[in-house]
Amino acid sequence: MNFFSKLMQLDRRWVYLLLVIVCLSAYYADFTVPTIVENETKAIYDFIEALEPGEIIFVAVDYDPSSQAELHPMTYALVEHAFRKDLKVIFTALSQNGPGMVDQALRDLTDSLKLPKTYNGIFYEGKEIVNGVDYTFLGYKPYYAIVITAMGQDYRILFPSDYYGTPLDSIPMMKRVHNYDDISLLVDISSGSITDAWISYGQGKFDFPLALGLTGVMTAQYYPFLQSKQIMGLMGGLLGAAQYEHLADNPGLAKDGMRVQLPAHLLIILFIIIGNVGYLVTRYRERKI
């Protein structure tokens, strides 16, 4: 057995071990990668930056813990930005395990907003965000396409009360809020086909500004909607989250994680090259025989 055919039959566990070593050493090494901000992310940041205090944005948290790696940093950076700008936020979670994700994000954000901080040279006092005044969490309902359509008429049709069981009419910030006409922006942070429903059943029918935060796997599929102006911005994967963190001057897990991406990608590229060289060599030899 020659070297290359041996290489081709290498146990996959060695490949796994190499990935672990590369990622761990990159994680503990001290270096940075540049964050080049793209227009599709900047559009979302600029839109939120231009909103007046008191305006309402709608954040649809449509992902499960499986995608939290990429999407939680987006939610954290974007919602913190919104709260620091004194915007009000309505949350929904139309994904099966989404409510727990919102619940966790809200607990963490309540803590971090208590601290005074300076972002992009502007000082923000720490503040207490209050359920019902600064935000409302509507919760989960199954069959997202129908839920999205019904919310265009009135949130109360399917959400007579919020996640914690408080009737919507007795929530201060929801008193005059009925449907998508009362929000300034809808951000869908999603890991699945719910995004398609937000585009077709939500934005397409009720015409509100829609921004997307997507997992890397989905990102490429939504560029057509960006050019047709059905969505106004797009954050793709950990890279998009890192860009938002960079814009909001609030570095977190995404920016830290992008460092590790680079060596991992180089390793994968190396594997592709080795695999191809091995493939070509074995093919060449087989032809000789």
Binding site: Q9, R13, Y16, L19, C23, L24, Y27, S66, S67, Q68, A69, E70, Q96, N97, P99, G100, G139, Y140, K141, P142, Y143, A145, I146, T149, L158, F159, P160, S161, Y163, G165, I199, S200, Y201, Q203, G204, K205, T215, G216, V217, T219, A220, Q221, P224, Q227, S228, K229, Q230, G236, G237, L238, L239, L253, D256, G257, V260, Q261, A264, H265, I268
Partner: protein, 276 residues
Amino acid sequence: MEFTTFLWTTFAAFLTLAVFSFLYKDNPMYKFAEHLFVGVSAGYFVIILWHGALVPNLFKKLADGDWYLLWLNASEWWYFVPFILGVMMFARFFKKSSWISRWPLAMYIGISTGLAIPLEMANRVNRQLWAMMEPINWSSFWGERYLDIGSGYSELLIFVGTIAALVYFFFSKAHTGAFGAVAKFGIWTLMLGFGASFGFTVMARISLFINRIQFLDINWGQAAFDASGTANENYHAGFQALFWAVWLIFLVYAVFEFKKYLNSKDKPSQPESTQA
């Protein structure tokens, strides 16, 4: 950090490592984690559906009725209808009566497809076609920058690429001659698209692993060793002991597996199958 919180974090770290141990091979710890996940997530879903949908959307609507009148005297008595239709779904459990469950199902399918037709047509097909038909920027055809997205040639490429890719999807006509040439350009475009998708997918998958490293280091490791910056007034030696105990479990398992491996090497085993 409270010790109980750390206890929970340690359990989470144990589960994380247990799932990763599957990469070596299937083992009891992974099986435990897997079955635990199925149970907890099913229970979670039940609770979310109950408190999040069933109670507010149905039970509270019928709450002012009386059960012995089947809630028909409730002020919003018409919610009795979806209740009955929903219960009809359970007819699936019995072979003889399973056809009853088709009625509510038919209602659901009718409404959701009726909702879909105009909206999908308008937003996936029409608006995409509209965007494709925008006039091309001939005044600055070569653009102002390196690979300018707003330049005329980019816009032309989008138009031609989309048409060509659509031609490729059209299988009713053989891909030969001029039609075949256009289809070929279409598949090139599609491959570039799939490549971009693949590049993003690699990034996405790696970031899932990075997140777990971050969890194990920041939430667990740093808390166990009271790293600087996370002042922990409750800190005591128990934190570190727990941390090492978890690693010990996996170490013991690794030694066990290694011994098994050595034993299998000593014994003259059956010839390995030649299939790769």
